[in-house]
């Protein structure tokens, strides 16, 4: 994991002090509401429906136990004793007092954390594959490049007032676990013709009101050219992106309206001007960054652990958890372990302060003190020795974090919705809860392979509904909550946006509609067939027919 040096530390301390001063000026009237708005947003502070919300950065999902303990302490001291992990790998506090936010930032700075650019019209927290560095299908570890991008984008003097927010994701494996096709810029590490590794660059993807998949702007970019190329894209966007309409201000609209070829010409012209400037990365810098992400494991090559195999054979609950929540590590003898934050009747992504402390403890004990957050709002222990898995499972069971449902129906992505968010049209967490109740016992869930449900409370799509296999979007109709359902969305390699099932459903009918859809799937699927394949094979109609037969739609 990256460790701050004196430069990094000074920067976050000075930034926290600056924010304290800005907040004081706002509270004494020297800064207007309008002026304070972008300043606080660039420090992660929203004013929500009931209270401010503070979004704390977890750069590309990497966290250590000391930081998690600090988050536990902060969420207890300044909030109601829990935090909410987001789809951009960050964590949110939902009830801090505005006056205390500067203190929270100081506390965060003491453990190399901050809330810089977690919101606002600027370059946001860069995200990546939560299995980076340990996945079997990896071309190269993306995290050194994430850190390079994090530093370049942090307080970039030119790009703090972009037309709209800007999100970058980097993927280093063959499978896209970072949803790069739905980001403003998506970077995929690839091997070039001569065997050297570089990036394929996508631009203009995004969810929200106008969901679009990213277009390829450059097939191969050398690593050294990463920052100059990003700077060229951002400059063209900053100058040409629309500012007349908030809903048309994302780069996806610019690329769409201008056409990818014209956009590419402008970017490449600018890039050719700056590609050999001092911003060109050096191999020393790349090497320095890589050294922070050295493997945490040694190659045992001892094969499977006997105890592990024994427990797997004899304890069906453990076996279920292993099947659903564990992934093969690139080194034999180790496992990648998902910590599910989707226990039934818990809002997706929520953890209590006490759970945070326990997770930190378990991370120290079993995972070298490291924890990762995923864009599906779960956590990952990346390097657990196989022989420790049984103990870890028992410990996670005790704190309600061992639900065997990763990648399953109940591993839903869900935004905070109307319960917390000022933007939302409809509730989302209660819908997630009711879908959970659909499945009386966890065994039912296991009949449904590889099916994702994503829920957003409004068009801003924080719950990524467009790329859920089943997507649920809250809409407001004359003060009533209605829900639009889409089927067939997918955030991975063969990314696709969901197709609308039909007219939206009333609050009272939406969960029944999901039930109907799932029943059609169970009836129609071939053995082991994932939902997406069934959907592709039989099409929308059977689902549509059943969902509207039972439900009264608008």
């Amino acid at each position: 994991m990256y460790q701050y040096d004196a430069f990094d530390q000074t920067l976050i301390e000075e930034r926290a002090a600056q924010f304290r001063q800005q907040t004081t000026r706002y509270l004494n009237g020297a800064l207007t509401e309008e002026q304070y708005l972008p300043l606080r947003l660039q420090n992660g502070l929203y004013i929500q429906l009931h209270a401010p919300m503070l979004r704390i950065a977890i750069p590309y999902g990497q966290l250590n136990s000391e930081q998690l303990r600090k988050l536990a302490e902060i969420s207890e001291k300044y909030d109601k004793g829990f935090g909410h992990f987001t789809t951009r790998q960050n964590i949110q506090l939902n009830w801090p007092a505005l006056e205390q936010v500067p203190d929270i930032l100081d506390e965060l700075a003491s453990v190399q954390m901050h809330a810089i650019q977690t919101s606002g019209n600027c370059i946001r927290n860069v995200t990546t594959d939560h299995l980076a560095g340990v996945a079997q299908d990896e071309i190269e570890d993306p995290r050194p490049y994430c850190e390079i991008i994090r530093q370049w984008s942090t307080l970039h003097p030119e790009f703090a007032f972009l037309p709209r927010k800007f999100k970058i994701a980097v993927n280093g494996a063959q499978q896209d676990r970072a949803a790069i096709q739905v980001h403003d810029i998506g970077l995929q590490l690839v091997e070039g013709e001569n065997g050297e590794v570089g990036f394929t660059v996508l631009v203009g993807g995004g969810l929200g009101r106008t969901p679009i998949l990213g277009k390829k702007i450059r097939e191969f970019l050398a690593k050294e050219d990463l920052l100059t190329y990003l700077e060229a894209i951002l400059r063209i966007y900053n100058l040409h992106g629309r500012r007349d309409n908030k809903y048309k201000a994302r780069i996806k609209i610019l690329v769409k309206e201008m056409g990818i070829d014209t956009f590419r010409e402008l970017v490449e012209e600018e890039w050719n001007r700056i590609k050999d400037s001092s911003l060109k990365l050096t191999s020393e810098e790349i090497q320095r960054m890589r050294s922070y992400f050295a493997p945490q494991t040694v190659n045992h090559s001892t094969g499977d652990d006997e105890q592990f195999k024994h427990h797997y054979r004899t304890n069906p609950d453990f076996a279920k958890w292993v099947d659903k929540n564990l992934v093969e590590h690139k080194n034999p003898g180790y496992q990648i372990v998902y910590v599910s934050l989707k226990a039934p009747n818990v809002p997706p992504g929520d953890v209590t302060s006490e759970q945070m402390r326990q997770i930190a403890e378990l991370a120290d004990q079993y995972n070298g003190g490291y924890i990762r957050s995923t864009h599906r709002q779960d956590l990952v222990f990346s390097d657990v020795e196989q022989s420790n898995c049984y103990e870890l499972w028992q410990a996670l069971e005790k704190i309600n974090l061992a639900t065997a449902n990763i990648g399953q129906v109940t591993d839903m992505i869900c935004c905070p919705g109307l319960d917390y968010c000022a933007l939302a049209n409809a509730t989302s967490i209660p819908i997630a809860k009711e879908i959970n109740l659909l499945f009386d016992s966890i065994d039912d869930v296991h009949d449904l392979n590889n099916l994702t449900i994503n829920i957003s409370g409004c068009m801003n799509a924080c719950g990524h509904h467009d790329v859920g296999n089943i997507g649920i979007l809250g809409v407001d109709k004359k003060g009533e909550e209605w829900y639009q359902i889409t089927l067939g969305g997918n955030a991975s390699n063969e990314a696709s946006l969901g197709t609308r099932l039909g007219p939206s459903f009333h609050r009272r009918d939406v969960v029944n509609a999901v039930d109907s859809i799932l029943n059609v799937y169970v009836e129609e699927r071939l053995p082991e067939e994932p939902f997406l394949e069934t959907f592709k094979r039989i099409g929308l109609d059977p689902f549509k027919k059943r969902a509207y037969e039972i439900n009264q739609a608008a």
């Binding site: 990094d8 030119e158 100058l239 911003l279 050096t282």
Partner: protein
Amino acid sequence: MKLIKQHKIIEDSWIPLADDAPLSDGQIIVSYARWQQDKDKILQRSSGQVGITISAEDDVNSLAEALDKIALICLQFDKFNDGRSFSQARWLKDKYGFKGELRASGAFIQDQILALLKVGIDAFAVPDDFTLETFQSAMHEVSVQYQTSALEPTPLFRRR
């Protein structure tokens, strides 16, 4: 209004010329529209330098050819949160090597001063109650810079 340049409060010797006012000699600032319309006449005046005010919408590339004849470019902020002016400044300085005064004017706020200096702005038109102390503290709020800028052209990764 007063002017802060090179970290000092100085007398503003430039005279803004309304679009419908007759051309005069001396140090005048004209609008981008006026410049486009009367460019030749402005450059043929018997004496005095010319400055141009550009807004966030204007295309700085169109100034490229005449840039050595322009002594001042004033970036007008109609809204403080319109970030185009930052990239305009960057292009004027880096891409076209503009050597004249690059001034910020209008709705920008003190919290943007450091970033404005970094993109190449070297003069600030500020309200009369704005103090030099405020300017200086704004300049020093964050001392670390990862990127390239007019204040420090070498990115941090080459200085570590």
